[in-house]
């Protein structure tokens, strides 16, 4: 019996997954190496006309191999990975950028774009490309993404003039604290910058994508950087497309510098520079917060534990269909065991988890046993890993799944292959030992989400 069980654990392994998502990023390095270096970028502001005409074409090649996975082939920010990311990838066609040194509503300068590509966006999936690409390629790609929005040909970037910097001092921080309270920063970011007493921390941006107010105690997650100058720029220019406004009409330059100094002072130590007591205190605080808000903790667990990767129908690019996250219906063909469509995890009563009890959900997550007694193989549903979760985390996960908006998507039952095919597969696996189970994704099978 044990040997039989071991026999299967090997298969877990062997899976050869056919991912439709693996399409769009074909040629990776090839063709890019042999490029001549381009001239350095034009000075800030003078922009488009001065840019070398050939570099947009070279930039497109860079874009097609590095950027499409998130930003999409057309630059709308709809790459295959986009629905899973938080914050979402930028939509280049709108010409609206968050991280600028220009007036509210203006397009960014070339320097702003170059900086974002070079240094990445902290606290997001955008990496710092300066360590990976020659600077010439970064400049090419910036020229290319500017061609995606007509705004860059019709408008000029209106750079802001920075007020004289107020150096950080206890007095400046105290003044900044007063500005923080006068401008009601705490209603989104919390009185302590960590969300405490905030009226709301969950928002939507102009593209109706979810958005969370920044945790001001974690400066390493500030998208635009954590120096007082970076923070001052966010106050001065606002963050386009989000509820974060510009404060240039409600606060003076000096006040914004004070506020920036105050926000810098809110930052706590990150875990990588803490001592043992501080680490213990941090984890205790995290556990207490998870207990106080299990739905938030559950969302974090569902987001980070791969649920949506399989439990959502995909389109031709391997992207989760819009509005169908966690609605199930992706078909997993596990040869030779049969077809295992992924379940609908939304709270729909008829087709989702709405009709399941908490214990039934937990049982299938931790043991792979469905309410009707059918057992799932250990892969692709990785219940053996999830069985190591703490009871509190499991409860949090269930609590969050209860809140996922219902999507009616009826997923068919598991189907088994015909007896002779099954026995042949079994024979090859157990006796000949050369044909482990293979997992294939042939398409979607839910009633909604369609066939591929």
């Amino acid at each position: 019996m044990t040997s039989a069980s071991r026999r299967f654990v090997r298969p877990i392994a062997i899976g050869a997954l056919v991912f439709s998502g693996a399409i769009g990023f074909g040629a990776v390095r090839g063709g890019l190496d042999a490029q001549p270096p381009t001239t350095p970028s034009a000075p800030t502001g003078s922009a488009v006309a001065a840019a070398p005409s050939g570099s947009a074409a070279r930039g497109k090649r860079v874009y097609d191999s590095r950027c499409v996975e998130c930003h999409g082939k057309t630059g709308v920010g709809d790459g295959p990975a986009a629905p899973m990311l938080m914050p979402r990838p930028r939509d280049f066609t709108a010409g609206r950028y968050k991280l600028r040194s220009t007036e509210t509503g203006s397009i960014p300068t070339d320097e702003d774009l170059l900086r974002t590509v070079r240094q990445g966006v902290y606290g997001s999936a955008m990496p710092a490309w300066e360590k990976l690409l020659p600077d010439a390629e970064i400049q090419d790609v910036v020229v290319y993404i500017k061609t995606l929005s007509p705004r860059f040909t019709t408008e000029l970037a209106a750079a802001v003039t920075l007020g004289p910097q107020v150096p950080s001092s206890p007095e400046s921080i105290a003044r900044g604290h007063q500005v923080f309270e006068r401008l009601s920063c705490g209603s989104c970011h919390g009185a302590d910058g960590h969300g405490t007493f905030a009226i709301a921390t969950e928002f939507e941006d102009d593209w109706n994508h979810p958005l969370t107010a920044a945790d001001l105690t974690q400066p390493w997650t500030f998208h635009g950087g954590a120096t007082s100058r970076d923070i001052y720029l966010r106050f001065r220019t606002g963050i386009s497309g989000t509820p974060m406004p510009s404060f240039k009409d409600t606060a003076t330059d000096a006040e914004m510098w004070d506020l920036a100094n105050f926000v810098v002072s809110l930052g706590r130590k990150p875990v990588w520079s803490m001592n043992a007591e501080e680490v213990a205190a941090l984890y205790a605080r995290d556990a207490a917060e998870a207990k106080a808000d299990p739905i938030k903790r559950g969302k974090y667990l569902v987001d980070t534990h791969l649920c949506a990767v399989c439990h959502s129908p995909l389109d031709q690019d391997g992207k989760i269909m819009p509005g169908m996250t966690l609605a199930g219906g992706q078909l997993m063909r596990v040869l030779p065991f049969g077809d295992y469509p992924t379940g609908n995890l939304t709270s729909d009563k008829e087709t989702g988890l709405g009709g399941w009890t908490d214990d039934q959900i937990k049982r299938v997550i931790t043991t792979g046993t469905r309410p009707n007694g059918v057992r799932l193989p250990p892969l692709p549903m990785d219940w053996s890993a999830f069985s190591a979760m703490t009871p509190a985390d499991l409860n949090a996960m269930v609590a969050y799944l209860r809140t996922v908006p219902p999507v009616s998507n009826k997923v068919p039952e598991i189907t088994r292959p015909l007896l002779p095919m099954y026995l042949w597969g079994k024979f090859k696996m157990l006796i000949l030992q050369d044909d482990p189970p293979i997992i294939i994704y042939p398409g979607n099978v839910g009633t909604k989400g369609g066939q591929r």
């Binding site: 039989a4 693996a22 606290g123 999936a125 990496p127």
Partner: protein, 203 residues
């Protein structure tokens, strides 16, 4: 009488064979063992952090261990063997994945100096989990290495994962280097891992 016995024997034989086939069909072998058997073998295999001297690092690595175990890293980064995964070589990689975009091989995540993560900086390891971008600059699909999910880890949780990976027992196991989703580029490593058996062509 003899004829009757002969027939009875045949019928019993056929029933027995049919019964065995039905048994195999309706109760596949991995369903005989209770689910806990799989889970325990897999989850207990994760090396503990008791050997780490620095208390802060130990606490962070303990947290990282929880994340590594529950996120199922071992599902792909295990070492396949003739009798199931070789859990003593925890996360040393080598599984292959055939996809539309080419053949992928799970990397060696142990801190081995020549073949494992000791070659990579913390930032490079985190970048793969955050952005799916490898040190050579290639971007991998969010569905092969599921960074689309791990990108949602907080930076501190990601750090804990890296700290734990840094304390795994090092296993020397060369995984074919793969800059692009194309057939293996490194024939020597390929030979070492797969004994020259050509998996790239399907079978």
């Amino acid at each position: 009488m003899k004829r009757f016995l002969k027939w009875a024997f045949f019928i019993v034989l056929i029933l027995a064979v049919a019964g065995f086939c039905a048994f195999l069909y309706f109760i596949p072998p991995f369903f005989i063992a209770p689910p806990e058997t799989f889970s325990k073998a897999q989850n207990d295999a994760a090396p503990t952090v008791a050997g780490i001297n620095d208390p802060a690092e130990r606490a962070i690595a303990e947290h990282g261990r929880y994340l590594v175990v529950t996120a199922g890293c071992i599902g792909c980064h295990q070492v396949p063997g003739p009798k199931g995964p070789q859990f003593d070589k925890y996360l040393a990689g080598g599984l292959k994945f055939l996809t539309h975009g080419g053949t992928y091989v799970a990397r060696n995540l142990t801190p081995d100096k020549e073949t494992g993560l000791a070659r990579r900086t913390d930032g490079e390891v985190k970048r793969v989990m955050r952005s799916g971008v490898f040190p050579d600059g290639h971007v991998t699909s969010y569905r092969v290495m599921p960074w689309g999910s791990y990108t949602n880890w907080t930076e501190e949780d990601r750090h804990a994962v890296v700290v734990y990976l840094r304390h795994l027992p090092a296993v020397r196991r060369r995984i074919p280097d793969q800059g692009a989703p194309s057939p293996f580029r490194d024939p020597a490593a390929y030979e070492e891992v797969y004994g020259g058996k050509d998996y790239t062509t399907g079978k």
